[in-house]
Amino acid sequence: SDPEPAGAEGTGSTDAADGSTLSGELNGGGASSQESAMEAWRAGFQSANPDVTVNYDPVGSGGGRTGFGDGTYAFAGSDAALEEEDLAAAEAQCGPGGIIEFPGYVSPIAVAFNLPGVDSLNLKPQVIADIFNGTITSWDDKAIAADNPDVDLPQTAITVVHRSDDSGTTENFQEYLSAVAPDEWPHEPEGVWPIKGQESAQGTSGVIGAAQSGEGAITYADASQVSGLGTVAVGVGDDFVPYSAEAAAEVVAQSPRVEGTSEGVYAIDLQRDIAGTYPIVLVSYSLACGTYADEATAELVKGFMTYLASEEGQQAAADAAGSAPLSADIRDAVMPSIEAIAAG
Amino acid sequence: MAQRIDVKDLNIYYGDFLAVQDVTMTIDPQSVTAFIGPSGCGKSTFLRTLNRMHEVIPGAAVEGTVEMEGVDLYGPDVDPVAVRRNVGMVFQRPNPFPTMSIRDNVLAGVKLNNRRISRSDAEELVEGSLRGANLWNEVKDRLDKPGSGLSGGQQQRLCIARAIAVKPQVLLMDEPCSALDPISTLAIEDLIGELKQDYTIVIVTHNMQQAARVSDRTAFFNIAGTGKPGRLIEMDETSTIFSSPAQKSTEDYVSGRFG
């Protein structure tokens, strides 16, 4: 059953008690990494509120932040916390209630490769950096072999595949590399891949496809997409940790909150060297305002964000997108701000 | 009602090329005027200025006056569309409308102008016009077939039927019989004889005999050479032109070529 969306503005009402009371259309947009999780959230929320339609434009984090700042989107997803210009614009847009920002979507980034017969490799951060910056060019390189005594490494040349578009995944991956291997990876982390002359492809599905089509390829991508490729267990301290939602959740839970932000903003200062955690994670933020111009939107955002941050919502995303659920600490910290969303 | 046409000092241009120079003539009502002359001398060009068809060619222009019963056809408040409705034309190459049936081709002048006509009037007009063009018997069983399926001669007669269906005041014909067999030619010539009772008729022909047979007055055009403008050499009673023309070149042209 498909009720027609009532339009951009909804008619929220809080008087009735039983079942759904919300209706209308709620529009958001931003990071494409959140798309799969967002589908689960939207489906869950819309099922509970059949008269509501939630839309999410996967236009990318930058587009999401811009759209959030100029009022295009009532809520947004972004692979990085708001900074400077975007923050100022968002604050102006949101008015007195301020901004609500929390890591609603946390997902491990897998380092995946195409070597027939090899499912898993142990790689130290420095080795990963050297592979991606082109210093190590063959799979039977000593540096690789040293940590993988049991694997029969072929002589195949390494083909690095990176994202060709400006991407939050790239930025996160580079942040990891420059944090743990600053000598091997001297580049300033940004959404664009810094090294020229390597293979690349558009979007997560693009790099996965390219890696699958070229033997000896290696790439980095959202972990939920890498089936069919071998994956890397990443060196943390002396251990090698394979990717998993739990290990990724752990790194978020153990990293400190950024200080000096307003109350509703819960940004993470990610630590990449905590033993037993999987350090390459994409932390994608959910953005909303504390106050909205009209009541209906406020009610819709409040309802949707409540669901998104809830245990139930986080589990839905974990099932659909392989993400790491929000820790109880963080949820407890942001819930009051979400519940305070109101018109004004 | 037939109409007299007075042409004064007419120069006709294609862009900068002066195709016909300095023509002055009078075309009498209720008579047939024939234009003869060698190929390229501007007969067609001059004819097309009489119903302002010349000006549909980009860059074409005229100087001088063409008066119909004293009204300058090129006067500022004269509507060229009205001129063409009253001065009908049949072309050298048959050009029936390919999208229309034979019937609709005959009715084109009426239908294209969005005029309403009752079914019976239409049938009458179609039959009358086609009979006039001596085509009725050949096409009466396939009036709904496209006109382009006819042979060349049949197509030309269809075009004549189309032109006379509009009942113009003046009828211009540019070598209307050049694609016709003798029987059709004769029928058209007879028709011209009938039409001149009511209309002013101008016919361009390359056929001396035809000019001699059908026309009351004949105008002879000539051209001094390629790139030079065509000129009206002489115009007179047809019998005079063919028996004792005033100009040597006319005599050269009409004498002894045929028969």
Binding site: G60, G62, E85, S213 | T26, A61
Partner: protein, 330 residues
Amino acid sequence: MTTTASGPPVQAPARRRTRRRTTDRGFNRAFRWIAVGSGVLMLAVLAAVALFLLVQAWPALTASEDDLAASVPRYPADTSLLAYVGPLVFGTLLAAALALALATPVAMGIALFISHYAPPKLAQVLGYLVDLLAAVPSVIYGLWGIFVLGPAVLPVWEWLGQVLGWFPLFAGTVSPTSRVLATVSVVLAVMILPIITAVSREVFLQTPKLHEEAALALGATRWEVVRTAVLPFGRSGVISAAMLGLGRALGETMAVLMILSPGFLYSFKILTSAQHQTIAAYIAADFPEASGLAVNTLVATGLVLFVITLAVNMGARAIVARRKEFSGAN
């Protein structure tokens, strides 16, 4: 007895030349103005698009190199905006030119096949098929390029690289993923093929029977009929068909975006990855994440694409104009 004999050419006194021109009235005039109005509206739309491009590009055009380098991803330090756009222009032109070179002869062949070679009944069906393929969305071409064409042509590219490696186009390492400009060009060629074919075919079909028969009666073979009557008649139509195709190839976004492994070099190595990028794909790839000056810079590259189309069209116009007096019309 009004005999008007011009006699010997008398030098007429200089008369005031009053040339008569067409005048419209009534609904004729209204219709004329409606038609003129939509012509002007066309220009207005284009002007609006151009204005939008220019206004949005202006900050980038006037910004300093350092500002650009600081705020635009992929903007190399110490480079003028022109030098930055240069490789993109090069890639765009190379891809479109290769596609056109591949597609035009084949498209003309197909058009002739349908109009003059295939049995008339079959020709209708084939024309239908080609029309249909003009409508395949670029996303589908992108998918097809990635999943089907890429793997299929890889051996061909490897072979070309081995055998013709000395030729600049085929030099360099052949990419194992075949996400290279050569593959993109083939996809673009396939994409523009139906467009060029459909328009050329319509034009070829309109060749006057009279002219074809004239050639036949001189003892021309079928090909000679095509050469003497059909091709000259269709020339301007084919040029405009090719331009429609070129326009699409220059501006094609999704297929390039999905297939090409981009790079920003002046390189002829169409079998090597990370050498080229086209403007349209570049804009699409980076636009979502761009903000501030980066958006302006992307729009500026769009402006460059605009200018390229303009230049290409001027060239093609010149070709058509030179042959105008010999054109088949009227």
